[in-house]
C-alpha cells in the first residue's frame, strides 16, 4: 500500500468518525470541581498524609533519643538508624508529591508517560525501608541485659538480629524491577492492592525505553 493511499484513507475516515460524543465545554467549571477528586489528587493526598505521619514518627523517635541522653548506646544507635531511614522515606514521599504536582500533560508524551509510570512503580523506591527491620530487634539491648542474659544473649538475641539483617539485605537486593520475572517477586507484589497498575507501569516503562531507542 502506497504512502499517499494510507494518508488518503485516513482523510476519508474523517466523514465516518464517531462525532456523537459531546464536548460539554460549557460545563468546564463544574468538571473542574468533580475532577478535584481524581486518582492523582487522591494519591497526592495519601502521600501527604504519609509525610505528616512520617514527620510525627520521626519527631517521636527524636524525642526518645533526646530523652535517653545517650545513656544507652544500643538504644541511641538503633533508634537513630530507624529515624534516618524514616527521614529518607519522608523526603522520597515529598519528591513524589512534587512530581504529581508538576505533571503537565502539555509536555512531551514520552516524558509525561515516563513520569506517570515511575510514580506507579515508586513502591520499589521505598524497599530500602526493609533495612531498618534489624534495628527493631536491637533497640532494647543494654549492658545490663547482655550481662544478665549471659550466653542466652549470644545464642538467641544476636542470631535473631543477624537473621533479620541477612533477610533484610537479601530482600533489598532481590526485590527489584529487574527481578520481576521471578515468581516470588511477582507473588509479593501480587499481595499488594496496587499490583496490577505496578505491572502495567513497568511494562510500559520498558516500552517507552524501547520507543526512545528507536
Amino acid at each position: 500500500m502506497e504512502d499517499i493511499t494510507l494518508k488518503d484513507l485516513w482523510k476519508a475516515q474523517d466523514e465516518k468518525l464517531d462525532r456523537s460524543m459531546k464536548l460539554n465545554l460549557y460545563l468546564l467549571e463544574s468538571m473542574q470541581k468533580q475532577k478535584a477528586e481524581s486518582k492523582l489528587n487522591s494519591l497526592a493526598r495519601f502521600k501527604g498524609w504519609a509525610v505528616v505521619l512520617g514527620i510525627l514518627w520521626v519527631a517521636f523517635l527524636g524525642l526518645l533519643i533526646y530523652g535517653n541522653q545517650l545513656q544507652n548506646l544500643y538504644f541511641t544507635v538503633s533508634v537513630g538508624a530507624i529515624m534516618l531511614f524514616n527521614i529518607a522515606a519522608v523526603i522520597i514521599y515529598i519528591k513524589h508529591i512534587a512530581i504529581i504536582k508538576s505533571l503537565d500533560y502539555s509536555q512531551s508524551i514520552t516524558g509525561t508517560q515516563e513520569k506517570l509510570s515511575k510514580l506507579q512503580t515508586s513502591t520499589f523506591n521505598l524497599r530500602f525501608l526493609l533495612l531498618q527491620t534489624p534495628f527493631y530487634t536491637s533497640f532494647f539491648w543494654s549492658g545490663e541485659m547482655i550481662s544478665g542474659m549471659g550466653p542466652k544473649f549470644w545464642l538467641i538475641s544476636v542470631p535473631i538480629t543477624l537473621l533479620f539483617t541477612l533477610l533484610a539485605i537479601w530482600l533489598y537486593r532481590n526485590l527489584t524491577l529487574e527481578n520481576m520475572n521471578k515468581k516470588w517477586v511477582r507473588g509479593l507484589i501480587n499481595s499488594t492492592p496496587e499490583h496490577t497498575s505496578v505491572f502495567k507501569a513497568m511494562d510500559f516503562l520498558k516500552e517507552i525505553e524501547e520507543f526512545k531507542k528507536g
Partner: protein, 168 residues
C-alpha cells in the same frame, strides 16, 4: 484565575480543532461510552492546561500533546477487558453496502484496525504521521529524535503494507 475572555478564546480554539479530539478518541477507544468519557477527559485537561499555553509551540502541537497524553493514560487505565469489546463492536458504523464505496470502506476499516493494533506510543506516532505533521513536529510532540521518528514510521509502514497485502 481564568477570565471569561480566556474561556471564550479557549472554546473558539477547541471548536476549530475539535477534529483532533474526535480522531484521537476514535483511535484509542473502541467502545462508544469510553470514547465519550475520553473526549470529556481531554476537554477537561485541555481547559486545565490552557492557562499555561504561552504560544511557544503551535496550538495544534500543544493540543496533540495534551490529547495524546490523556488518551494514552486513559487507554492504559481502561485496557482490561477491552479486547473483547474491540472484537464485538465494529470500528465505525460502516454499513456493508454493495456500492462502489464498499472497497474504500473496507480499506478504511482495515486501516483503523491496524492502527488500533499498534502499541500506544506507535499509535500516537502514526496518528501524527497520517495527520501530515512534519518529522520535527512529531519529534517535538513525542519527545524523541527526528531520526527515531523516521526509522519507526518506516518500520510501521512496512508492517501496514504487509497487512494490507494479506487482506487483498
Amino acid at each position: 484565575m481564568t477570565t471569561q475572555n480566556n474561556k471564550e478564546e479557549f472554546l473558539k480554539r477547541i471548536e476549530e480543532h475539535k477534529l483532533i479530539i474526535y480522531k484521537i478518541c476514535n483511535s484509542y477507544c473502541r467502545n462508544r461510552y469510553d470514547r465519550a468519557d475520553l473526549a470529556q477527559e481531554i476537554s477537561y485537561q485541555l481547559w486545565k492546561s490552557f492557562n499555561h499555553f504561552n504560544g511557544a509551540v503551535k496550538f495544534s502541537t500543544w493540543m496533540y500533546r495534551v490529547a495524546l497524553n490523556v488518551a494514552i493514560t486513559f487507554y492504559r487505565k481502561t485496557r482490561t477487558g477491552e479486547a473483547i469489546i474491540q472484537l464485538a463492536e465494529p470500528d465505525t458504523e460502516i454499513e456493508d453496502k454493495k456500492t462502489d464505496t464498499a472497497e474504500l470502506e473496507k480499506n478504511i476499516s482495515a486501516l483503523q484496525k491496524f492502527i488500533n493494533e499498534l502499541k500506544e506510543l506507535d499509535k500516537a506516532l502514526m496518528i501524527l504521521y497520517l495527520e501530515e505533521k512534519s518529522y520535527s513536529e512529531i519529534a517535538e510532540i513525542l519527545g524523541i529524535t527526528e531520526t527515531n521518528v523516521a526509522t519507526r514510521i518506516s518500520r510501521i509502514k512496512d508492517k501496514l503494507k504487509q497487512k494490507f497485502s494479506n487482506i487483498k
